[in-house]
């Protein structure tokens, strides 16, 4: 309350907060509302409205084309719960997250620690090189990766054969047993740069004086890392992991160009399945796709909440012990 009184007037008169009515309080913050206006209007039009429409579509039996779109209540949702491919796609998406998110977060932290050294020559160049895949169009990445993982003479297979790790070329993208792992690898390659930038940013928040203090205390490189840097990075872990996980949940165009969800559903992520149902099938089913989208959104929300709570809890336990 007291803070409110303190900063209420921006050029207006000072009035004690407690005595003002609702209208007066709103009036006092009129500039705040004006500042929010563009976001509220635009966001309402282009984000909230589509979400509300999606909720409505999910109650229709509609192919997205005709004028005929009968209301069928929750039938789409009932069907979704009994749809094995939907569950399969959720499993695939979760597996991708469970594998790539920790790996990407950890590996990019490692690289960020190296790149953060101010005495490292060419750091800027390396940073750019690692970021370039992020800005490359996905459409053409599919073709390049076809060559890189080619079972007939592609470099990855050549290397594995030469090293004697395998004696038969591996059909990375075409074998249901390996395709998902390959897609995960390429996905990590493509988006590694973004996570790296997050970590570099986090590292910049640690003042140089902290290191100097550690050094005068006689801490070597490893000790400084173990007892100074890493503990200070801990709060960033939650936010970076969360950003990475959300972005991974919506893995879509890469899968579409590389495998189109196949072979035999092995790389069918939820977004790809929703797209196939809503737009691509012989008979597109926008209503059903919308219902899958709503369910997926709810799952994501729950998942993110669990993750955030879990990480926070883990942090608390660790710091208290």
């Amino acid at each position: 309350m007291s803070t409110m009184t303190r900063k209420a007037p921006a050029g207006g008169r000072l009035v004690p907060a407690r005595r003002r009515g609702l209208a007066a309080r709103i009036w006092a913050e009129r500039w705040s509302y004006v500042f929010l206006l563009p976001t509220v209007v635009l966001f309402g039009m282009y984000t909230i409205w589509p979400i509300v429409s999606g909720l409505y579509y999910s109650l229709l039996d509609w192919n997205g084309l005709g004028a005929e779109r009968p209301f069928i209540g929750l039938a789409n949702y009932r069907e979704a719960f009994g749809d094995p491919l939907f569950w399969k796609s959720l499993g695939v998406t979760l597996l991708i997250i469970a594998v790539t998110v920790p790996l990407r977060v950890a590996l990019s932290l490692l690289v960020a620690l190296v790149l953060n050294n101010p005495r490292l020559p060419l750091a800027k160049l390396f940073r750019t090189a690692l970021f370039v895949p992020v800005v490359t169009t996905t459409a053409i990445i599919g073709v390049v990766m076809g060559f890189i993982f080619d079972p007939a003479g592609g470099p990855v297979n050549q290397l594995l054969l030469d090293l004697g790790i395998v004696d038969q070329p591996v059909d990375f993208l075409g074998d249901p047993a390996t395709s998902l792992w390959t897609v995960m690898g390429v996905h990590m390659w493509k988006w590694f740069g973004i996570t790296l930038v997050y970590w570099l940013a986090a590292l910049q928040t640690i003042p140089v004086t902290v290191y100097e203090a550690a050094r005068t205390d006689g801490a070597g490189g490893w000790a400084a890392l173990r007892y100074v840097t890493l503990p200070m990075l801990k709060p960033f872990l939650i936010i970076i992991a969360l950003l990475t996980a959300i972005e991974t949940m919506q893995i879509f165009d890469l899968v579409l160009t590389m495998t189109n969800g196949g072979p035999f559903f092995s790389t069918l992520t939820t977004e790809v399945y929703i797209y196939q149902q809503a737009f691509a099938g012989t008979t597109p089913r926008l209503g059903y796709g919308a219902a899958l989208g709503v369910l997926f959104g709810v799952f994501t929300l729950v998942f993110a909440a669990i993750q955030a709570v879990g990480l926070r809890y883990a942090n608390r336990v660790r710091s208290s012990s």
């Binding site: 900063k7 500039w31 429409s53 490359t136 169009t137 060559f147 390659w189 796709g289």
Partner: protein, 280 residues
Amino acid sequence: MNTALRRRRLGIWAQVAVLAVICVVWIYPLLWIVSASLKDSLGVFSGGLGLLPGSPHFENYARAWQDADFGLYTVNSVIVTLGTVVLVVLRCALAGYVIARREFIGKRVVVGVLVATLFAPGGLTIIPVVELSDLLGLLNSRTGIILALAGGGHVAAVLLYAGYFNRIPRELEEAAIMDGAGFLRTFFRVVLPLAGPVTATVSVMTFLAAWNNFLLPLVFTFSRPDLRTLSVGMLAFRGTNSTDWSGLAAAGTISLVPLLLVFLALQRYFVEGVAGAVKS
């Protein structure tokens, strides 16, 4: 002391060597795209992984630039992207500022709704957006594309700004108010300039997303092919039964260059901006 120093220097160069190898492997696929853009269509597939084309075929670029109208599309892409960046920066900075600094009725609702929508999958939003834009007479115009690209989402940008503004000492604003500056003047003269790094970050991220967006500009330019952007223009290279791979690679390279330039120019601020924002 001397040996320790030497050892450390050796260590650094070892790191550089390892990183250099990693980076070469890392950007190899992209070099391949550039090299494919200089090969003929059979060469793209018969050359395997070699990077050097026998004799460079610059006509792929000529084809992309003239036949596929990439000159015009580049201009459109630049206009649409810049418009989107400006609008996003402005609206997100304004919103971020009041969320960080003001206590007003309804704030919790606003923040709650923003965060909740972070998790909404995006694939299906296109149909309502088109219906709405049609209703408002915004289809077939660059303005419509810009509003739709800038209007939806960008929650992360709002939160970045909010996080950053939270850390600016209140004294600065108070000093400005003492000097007689109003709410607006304080914001535009004092607060926003301080947020340079966040603005750089948001600009780069928005630039990326807007530049590469495909479906929205496609839908908004059905009746006006002269308003199409680069990403939509790439359509021209993919037909029913065939794809002009070398032309597509050339087009991909053309559209990659501005993105790289923007990143190179802003990368220092970019990292600082994320740093400033995640800190809170």
